[in-house]
């Protein structure tokens, strides 16, 4: 019997996907390319949701009306991420934040950047609840969420 009685086998599972955006999200990303952030408004509860939904999660009604929301908003909460993991898209450290864009009724998740992130104590002084931030656009648009490069504090 082998000395290594309990061996471990390394492997990887790689699966390719072809994900359908659907009409609503397709339009959202098309508009990002034109540097516009679009939400959808519910006829029944009047809430404006970003990302847009084809239907209102609370009213279960179709959401028909497109509304352009502001590219500025307020930081509702944020987190300083300093933890690496496999296939992470953003380089650490980065800040994930929940931002309430003016004219919308939901928190929008994106990153806050454009400030020095290397020293955490400075970051903590710089980023506060209620801070106003605005979208900074990527020069090259790919029709995905990183067409907004990040949100930066409004001075």
């Amino acid at each position: 019997m082998s000395k290594e009685e309990h061996r471990i086998v390394k492997g990887q599972v790689m699966v390719p996907y072809e994900l359908a955006l659907g009409r609503t999200w397709c339009h959202f990303f098309d508009c990002l390319k034109e540097e516009k952030i679009m939400g959808k408004k519910c006829r029944k509860c009047s809430r404006v949701l970003v990302p847009p939904r084809s239907f209102c999660p609370r009213c279960f009604e179709d959401m028909e009306e497109w509304v352009e929301v502001s590219q500025e908003g307020v930081v509702e909460t944020w987190v300083y991420v300093n933890m690496p993991f496999f296939a992470q898209e953003l380089k650490i450290p980065f800040i994930s934040a929940q931002i309430r864009l003016d004219g919308s009724d939901s928190g929008f998740i994106h990153q806050i950047a454009g400030i020095d992130l290397s020293d955490f104590d400075k970051v903590r002084e710089r980023v506060k609840l209620g801070d106003r931030v605005r979208a900074v656009w990527s020069t090259e648009k790919k029709g995905n969420i990183l067409d907004i490069a990040y949100f930066e504090p409004v001075k």
Partner: protein, 154 residues
Amino acid sequence: MAKEYRTIRNDVALPYQWALGKTWTRFFDGLKEEQIWGTKCTHCSRTYVPARTFCPDCFTDRTEWVPVKPEGKIVSWTLVKATYHGQVKPPPYIIALIQLSGTDCGFHHFIGGVETENIKKLRQKLKKGAKVKAVWNPEKKADIYDIAYFAPVK
């Protein structure tokens, strides 16, 4: 407005470290030495290969190790011509269920050493119950490919 319905390509790759446990570690160590190990349930006397920690039928872990000859007979097979992402090798190839001598279950592996061009001839060669034997990979890695494939016995 651009096309209304678009799809986005998105690959998900995840790394794993699978624990073999005692039983399967010994099974794969055996393959490295060109030995196939099975386990026999002391309650129902069934022999399973690959070896099992417990008998799936009796739920008992009173099983004993038994050496299994690297030969058996074909239970079923199919010629794979379809391709898919992450496939183990380019088609065409044959996968089969083989009942190894002295065991009570099918063992899943490739059949090789045969022409796959002519299906009629292939059918003649790979009849149910046809005898096959393991062809070992000269380079062993203690995994299921230590057996390269099973080849028909003339």
